[in-house]
């Protein structure tokens, strides 16, 4: 029993890192994704194609590899050869007592960029699926472009993209486990450390945390969908 509580507590600590990574990735990737979606729809051809290529690269390379690239490349390119994220690790540890802060930030950057690119395609699809008549109705009523987007288009897009977004967001919950490859101590990493000491079951037990989290998210998305069911697009 004591061991179970011990393991649960350690896993919860790891799960805290998982949740933090999840929430912060969403906070950064959703606005960034919206921006990228606008840029890939830009009327200025060079901008449009540059960002289409970026989306292609980010979606085309494994997220794990992107983690390595974000974490190691800046150090390799710097004159001193020191890894800035490693230095940040030390700085945050000595100044604030935070473990692995630099690695965490590297992960956050890679995740945010990666998910922003996926989201941007969902947003683009959503925005382009709204009939042109909606924009035209706004125009003839004298609305500005901003008003048309925020007051007319956005809520319709939100309704349309909730199913694909919930899919992507649930995938993100589980993708956070990749952070361990550059040494972020999230829940699987914690469980793995038990496994290294011949205690295997925490590894399976960690799955329960993901299941509960995804269950809560599923309920949340169901609730939002229901909330928005008062109108049809």
């Amino acid at each position: 029993m004591n061991q179970f509580l011990n393991v649960t507590q350690s896993l919860l600590e790891g799960f805290g890192v998982t949740c933090l990574l999840f929430v912060l990735t969403l906070v950064f990737s959703i606005p960034l994704g919206l921006l990228i979606s606008f840029l890939t729809m830009s009327k200025i051809k060079p901008i449009k194609y540059i960002f289409k290529v970026i989306v292609w690269i980010v979606r085309g390379v494994p997220l794990m590899l992107q983690l390595f690239i974000v974490f190691y490349l800046p150090g390799m390119l710097s004159e001193t050869g020191l890894n800035p994220f490693g230095q940040l690790d030390n700085f945050l540890y000595f100044e604030y007592g935070i473990d692995n802060g630099g690695r965490f930030i590297a992960t956050l950057i890679a995740f945010s960029l990666n998910y922003a690119c996926y989201f941007s395609e969902i947003f683009r699809g959503g925005i382009e699926s709204i009939p042109k008549g909606q924009t035209e109705a706004g125009k003839v009523l004298g609305m500005t472009k901003g008003q048309i987007f925020f007051k007319v288009i956005l809520m319709q897009v939100v309704k349309r993209i909730i199913p694909p977004m919930s899919n992507e967001i649930i995938t993100l919950v589980k993708d956070t486990a990749l952070a361990r490859v550059i040494g972020v101590i999230e829940i699987i990493k914690v469980a793995d450390m038990f496994a290294a000491n011949a205690l295997i079951w925490p590894l399976f037990y960690s799955g329960v945390f993901y299941l509960i989290f995804v269950g809560v998210l599923t309920l949340l998305f169901g609730f939002i969908e229901k909330k928005l069911s008062y109108y049809k697009v």
């Binding site: 009939p131 008549g133 035209e136 109705a137 003839v140 004298g142 609305m143 472009k145 007319v152 809520m155």
Partner: protein, 309 residues
């Protein structure tokens, strides 16, 4: 010059010339119907009038104000175009109501969004007055800060007065818009649908709401782009009734339509377009009963055949 005057309008999409020099003139309070087969350019003409398309050539004057003149070098800013757009209301074939808003909000949204803009204009005006008054006081040699404040307050031009004035303006406008909204609901006979969403309405009801929404910005000219084409036949009557009541109010309207009977009765003037030009125009009864051009004859017999089928 007529109230609304379009002169020599040209419009091409790529290599296809859709409008090849169209002239339209309309007096205040008149109703003009535009008929013609699909592809004749009538919808494009309406879209040019509503600034949804930019004409390549030609000009438009409304009530003495030039709204666009393609021969002029000066290009209007987005804000100027938005302001000019407000001279016209447009009712679409496919309604294009905002699905996420109630009937009432659909009607009041656009005027409500204009409040902030108008408030900014008013605020700028008052600030300018304030600055002028301050300069005047300075010239008169009033240096004492307290005295300046008192004199400004007498003119209701202190910062606080201006803020209050703007607040008052906003509240008043909101109330006016809400009152207008109620009146428009009554006009289209949908008071009981005030809080319904567009998806809960029939096509005819949706189109009536779209008419109210277009009227809410108080346009000088109301345009209809085949307002009944997307409706089931039994629902066209209620929409046409609303349009007829608007004519009785003396509204200036342009209606692109396939409803020949309606066009004949409601219009003061009919314009028959074919292949990007005005083929024939004139008095509705005369034009429909005694068409002169071969094209119009063919068009009318085609339409009546379809109606008989």
């Amino acid at each position: 010059m007529a109230y609304l005057q379009l002169t020599n309008i040209h419009k091409s999409f790529g290599n296809t010339q859709v409008l090849k020099g169209v002239d339209v003139s309309l007096e205040k309070g008149e109703v003009l119907s535009i008929i013609g087969s699909s592809g004749s350019g009538k919808t494009t003409l309406l879209r040019c009038i509503n600034f949804l398309e930019n004409a390549d050539k030609g000009s438009m004057v409304l009530d003495g104000e030039t709204l666009f003149d393609c021969s002029s070098e000066i290009k209007d800013s987005d804000a100027q175009i938005r302001e000019k757009t407000l001279n016209f209301g447009l009712v679409f074939q496919s309604f294009n109501l905002f699905p996420q808003y109630t009937v009432f909000k659909n009607i009041t949204l656009a005027p409500t969004l204009l409040i902030d803009h108008d408030a900014k204009v008013l605020s700028a005006e008052l600030k300018k007055k304030q600055a002028e008054h301050k300069a005047k006081l300075k010239k008169e040699g009033v240096r004492d800060k307290k005295q300046v404040a008192v004199l400004l307050a007498q003119q209701r031009l202190t910062d606080k007065d201006i803020r209050e004035e703007i607040e008052y303006f906003k509240t008043r406008r909101k109330k006016e818009i809400a009152d207008d909204g109620e009146q428009l609901l009554a006009k289209i006979g949908l008071v009981e649908k005030r809080n319904s969403y567009p998806c809960e309405l029939s096509g005819g009801q949706q189109q009536r709401v779209a008419i109210a929404r277009a009227l809410a910005i108080k346009p000088k000219v109301l345009c209809f782009d085949e307002p009944t084409s997307a409706l089931d036949p039994e629902l066209t009557g209620e929409v046409l009734k609303v349009i007829r009541s608007l004519k009785d109010e003396g509204r200036t309207m342009i209606i692109v339509t396939h409803e020949m009977g309606f066009a004949k009765h409601v219009s003061d003037k009919i314009l028959f377009m074919s292949d990007g030009v005005v083929e024939e125009e004139g008095d509705p009864v005369q034009l429909i009963e005694n068409p002169r051009s071969e094209k119009l004859k063919a068009f009318l017999s085609n339409v009546s055949e379809k109606e008989e089928m």
